[in-house]
């Protein structure tokens, strides 16, 4: 429903008469904000957390990595892991292991500021199968991967699917919940009009079982990316303590892959 305006554009009346051009805009650039992106999964470690700062709109490139931050990851069993910086701005764990049903706490201290977040990992859901399907999407016939998995009944589940083609992740956010499909077998198509698949292409789909907080984060991130809101806003805040953008997610992983014939 967020895509209604783009759907209506594609109906043909507007493209017949509209045009686009790049323009110069004068924007006031705000003071850089911290951006933290980290996750812990039920797959084997290590797990990564990236810290950076926002760049000005006219800058070349997106983030300015933040080094020498103190990053602590604790679980609800008393274990603490201090992450070490391997690449500038990227910190990794050494021994902590993520497990479904457990709660994880992260604390980041950089340049005198502290941020904290909490995440609880849900129970795992497995991808049953993956296949390619030619189906209509936005008026065109599109070859698209479809992931099939069974939603556990009686529990509110939230999912994110990440699509990889030849090792490169697709930018689109495929995020759903089971509000209307509780307990059913979900067939999730992953269309992208800009991607074509040919023989020998390697396709992998990763199903992440995410928390409700992450579902809200991704939904609001989709709105921010879609740029169709009358009141553009930043995604729902995930960190407490200061103004940090980004997220900390504890999710389960399951993937399937195949090579296109």
């Amino acid at each position: 429903m967020k895509r209604i305006s783009s759907l209506l554009f594609s109906l043909g009346l507007l493209p017949l008469a509209s045009c686009q051009k790049v323009i110069d805009l004068d924007v006031h650039n705000a003071a850089p904000q911290y951006v933290i992106e980290g996750s812990i999964t039920d797959a084997e470690g290590p797990y990564y957390l990236r810290i950076s700062k926002t760049a000005s709109l006219d800058a070349d490139g997106n983030n300015l990595p933040v080094s020498n931050a103190l990053v602590l990851l604790r679980d609800d069993l008393g274990q603490t892991d201090t992450l070490s910086e391997t690449i500038p701005g990227q910190y990794q764990t050494s021994h902590i292991q993520g497990m479904p049903g457990h709660t994880y706490y992260v604390e980041v201290s950089a340049d005198g500021q502290s941020f904290a977040a909490v995440a609880t990992m849900p129970q795992p859901v497995q991808v049953d199968s993956l296949y390619l399907l030619t189906a209509p999407s936005m008026g065109k016939e599109l070859l698209q991967p479809v992931a099939v998995f069974k939603d556990p009944a009686g529990v509110r589940n939230y999912y994110r699917l990440v699509l990889y083609k030849n090792g490169v992740a697709n930018k689109q956010l495929f995020v759903i919940d089971d509000q209307f499909t509780d307990g059913q077998t979900i067939k999730m198509p992953l269309p992208d009009a800009e991607v074509t698949y040919t023989a020998t292409d390697h396709i992998r789909v990763e199903l992440q079982g995410i928390s409700q907080a992450m579902y809200l984060y991704y939904s609001s991130l989709q709105q921010t990316l879609g740029q169709s809101s009358a009141a553009p806003a930043n995604p729902v805040r995930q960190f407490s303590g200061g103004n940090a953008l980004g997220y900390f997610s504890a999710h389960t992983l399951s993937s399937r892959e195949f090579v296109v014939q």
Binding site: S5, L11, I23, D60, Q144, L173
Partner: protein
């Protein structure tokens, strides 16, 4: 007590007056005329205007034998008083030379003297030759050429009056509210000009019989239909065509009108070789019907109906349709020369349906709002100087915010239906205090009851659901009762100039929940309840009015200040679509709007038109947004200029042009960027701190009369929208540069440049 009655009796007798009443109609078609002026020549203080049913009542001093009746576009008429007759119906002859008539001094004076401020009246004849997008005459779009009214822009439905939101306008079609007054996302309005008699816009100081929206009332009246002969008229255009049939019913006792219109924009898509466009559906149709019948000299019955539907579809994959249906049954009863009554039974329905059938899904989504209303209005003409209007209205709302059906799984999920009762009682008094001073004041007491069956929520301090309360069918969950005082005063400085002042309070019990740049047909009407409070507006206005060169020119200047309470905005990342507890997604606060409106109109001669200019500001302060600071409302535009001109070249040719200029609306642009989840994400700080680029465009049109004989008339109209091809910004979005993905660039989308139109109109 007896002494008082005697005094009253004596006072009335001492006046030595007669009271006359009747209706004013068009002599050719029998259509009643609204706001026609009846006056006593030479007696400036005595006069009145007809109401929306063409009815007037006037007390005249003894000895007066002739009265003058006038209305723009018609030859002046007279009433000759004979004997003791009190009923005088007038038929005015339309003037051939529409624009050559010199408006009688008394008509101007009457308008100068009336306390009603912030009001504009438009008739299709006034705007018939103006250029419009796609050649579709549109009275509603022409309203945005008047001061204080801003269009929401191309591709957007809705309009903003004096800084108010698009949901704060009450649009009535013969008394029935129209919830979505636009077709195809705002390119056309739901009003077919062929069927319309007139449109009256109230921007402030709404008369007490109107209520329910904060910013304006757009009162649209349909034509009754020609009482004398059968006629067919219509037009064929590039994008849409229309046809109307009208004629008498029952030997001069009544008439009927049937008007239809359909676009065929999708016919052009079928001609396209692009496969993805070929099977798309993009059309709308609408139908207006009206019938009226006189059941004797004192009673008149009217039935009006409207049906409109829009269809958008992408093959079988996606379909969106929405439709408005209204029906009104009205009964006028004239008790005597002093008491006029109107009873209306009204039905209004707006619904939309979305169908998605693609890949592995097959969904249907439906949302609907349905109203049943009963209205009773009385006009009591007490004595020469005083008129009372009073009445009641009651509406039952039934809202289905969203019902999702998964057709493949056979499962239905529904947001719960909402039921409510809305009502009002009003009393207003129009009083001529002295020769120069007129007053109009009144009170409207409005009320709203949110009813069960349904769940209502209690929220905690963080805005999350703390408790759910269930109310059975018909049980009252929350009531609001609000008094809405209205007051206007006018003072004649001379025969050519006047000043006016007014104050009005309005309450609004339905909020439109939307959260996208293009006001979408899928926006939801949400009634107030225990958490969402009614919107309240208080508006004061001051105006100066002047008539120049015997009414050839009119100048007005109005300044207003409006304060709004209980305004609604959305939390970051709000989900308003599938959330039953919509209250958890909303934030509340206040608003204020103020401005100055100037209008200069030339009404007579070969060249007519107007210049309108508005200087204004509209802002909001919502708890939880923009650090609780005041920020510009999205519809805030500082300068808004419209220049409209029509020139009657010769008997056969008319040319016209409109020039529109306005500074950009407030918009939120990012102040930085970052990367998350593999995407470049824009970072936003202040709300609405930037402005869109200024908008300006010129439209031109020329109309040539082809045939003009008794029994058949036709004309050809050609137009050019955006004649100098200005690339006005419909939206500005940001994307990564294709060659250099590290760079972010701003992209402006323009919708229309150089759009020609040709329409052939006929009448027989």
């Amino acid at each position: 007590m007896a002494a008082l009655l005697l005094l009253f009796f004596i006072a009335n007798k001492a006046m030595a007056q007669t009271r006359i009443s009747g209706t004013v109609r068009d002599s050719k078609t029998g259509e009643t005329l609204l706001a026609a002026t009846i006056s006593v020549p030479g007696q400036n203080a005595i006069g009145t205007v007809t109401n929306e049913f063409g009815f007037y009542s006037l007390a005249i001093p003894q000895g007066v034998s002739t009265l003058a009746v006038s209305y723009t576009g018609y030859k002046p008429g007279t009433i000759r008083i004979t004997g003791s007759e009190t009923r005088y119906d007038v038929a005015l002859v339309p003037s051939q030379e529409l624009k050559e008539i010199v408006v009688k001094a008394n008509t101007t004076k009457n308008r100068l003297g009336k306390p009603q401020m912030g009001m504009e009246q438009l008739r299709p004849a006034d705007i018939k030759d103006l250029p419009v997008l796609f050649g579709e005459k549109d009275v509603l779009k022409t309203l945005s050429l008047l001061p204080g009214v801003k269009s929401a822009g191309e591709g957007n439905s809705g309009f903003y009056v004096r800084g108010g939101g698009a949901d704060q306008n009450l649009i009535l079609l013969d008394g029935a509210p129209v919830y979505n007054a636009s077709h195809l996302l705002g390119f056309f309005s739901t009003f077919n000009s062929d069927a319309i008699k007139d449109v009256t816009l109230y921007k402030g100081a709404m008369p007490a019989q109107f209520g329910g929206r904060l910013s304006s009332v757009v009162d649209v009246h349909l034509n009754d239909g020609n009482k004398k002969d059968y006629h067919v008229n219509g037009g064929i255009g590039l994008i849409a065509s229309r046809l109307s049939v009208e004629g008498p019913l029952g030997a001069g006792k009544g008439s009927f009108l049937l008007s239809g219109r359909r676009t065929y924009a999708d016919a052009f898509l079928k001609l396209s070789n692009k496969k993805e466009l070929k099977n798309n559906r993009l059309y709308f149709y609408d139908l207006n019907g009206k019938a009226n019948y006189a059941l004797g000299k004192r009673d008149h019955l009217y039935v009006s109906g409207y049906l409109g539907k829009d269809q958008l579809g992408l093959k079988n994959e996606f379909g969106l349709d929405w439709s408005n249906r209204t029906a009104t049954l009205r009964w006028n009863h004239i008790f005597n020369t002093r008491l006029f009554s109107n009873t209306s039974l009204i039905y209004s329905d707006y619904n939309y349906n979305i169908g998605i059938e693609s890949n592995e899904v097959d969904y249907g989504i439906r949302s609907e709002i349905k109203d049943w209303s009963l209205k009773q209005d009385f006009s009591f003409f007490s004595n020469a100087n005083t008129t009372f209007r009073f009445g009641l209205e009651l509406t039952r709302h039934t809202i289905t915010p969203g019902k999702l059906t998964d057709r493949s799984a056979g499962v239905t999920f529904a947001l719960q239906d909402r039921h409510a009762l809305e009502g009002a009682a009003y009393l207003s008094h129009s009083y001529q205090a002295t020769q120069k001073l007129q007053l109009e004041y009144g009170i409207r007491l409005s009320g709203f009851a949110a009813l069960g069956a349904g769940h209502y929520y209690a929220l905690d301090s963080a805005g999350a659901i703390a408790d759910t309360l269930f109310y059975g069918s018909g049980a009252i969950a929350k009531t609001y009762i609000l008094p809405e005082p209205r007051f206007s005063i006018s003072y004649l400085l001379s025969d050519q100039a006047s000043v006016k002042a007014s104050y009005a309070r309005n309450a609004q019990y339905l909020h439109l929940i939307a959260n996208s740049t293009a006001a979408s047909p899928t926006d939801k009407w949400t009634p107030v309840n225990n958490i969402i409070k009614p919107g309240i507006s208080d508006q004061v206005a001051l105006g100066y009015y002047r008539s120049i060169a015997e009414g050839a020119y009119e100048f007005s200047a109005e300044a207003y200040y409006k304060y709004l309470q209980n305004q609604v905005d959305y939390k970051e990342g709000a989900n308003v679509f599938t959330n039953d507890a919509i209250e958890t997604q909303l934030l509340f606060g206040q608003g204020r709007a103020y401005g100055l409106e100037l209008l200069l109109r030339k009404k007579t001669g070969k060249f007519t038109g107007w210049i309108s200019y508005t200087l204004s500001r509209s802002e909001l302060q919502i708890k939880g947004i923009n650090q609780n600071q005041w920020y510009a409302a999205r519809q805030d535009r500082t300068h808004d200029l419209s220049v409209v001109g029509m020139y009657q070249f010769s008997d056969k040719w008319t040319v016209s042009g409109t020039f529109v200029y306005y500074t950009g609306s407030a918009v939120t642009f990012p102040s930085g960027k970052y990367e998350v989840a593999g995407n470049t994400v824009l970072y936003y700080t202040e709300r609405n701190a930037y402005r869109m680029p200024a908008y300006h465009r010129l439209d031109l049109a020329a109309t040539r009369q082809l045939a003009h004989r008794k029994g058949f008339q036709s004309e050809l109209s050609i137009g050019l929208y955006n004649a100098y091809g200005r690339e006005n910004a419909y939206s500005i979005t940001f994307r990564q540069n294709k060659e250099n993905p590290g760079r972010t660039e701003a992209v402006q989308t323009t919708l229309f440049k150089f759009i020609p139109s040709i329409t052939y109109n006929f009448k027989f």
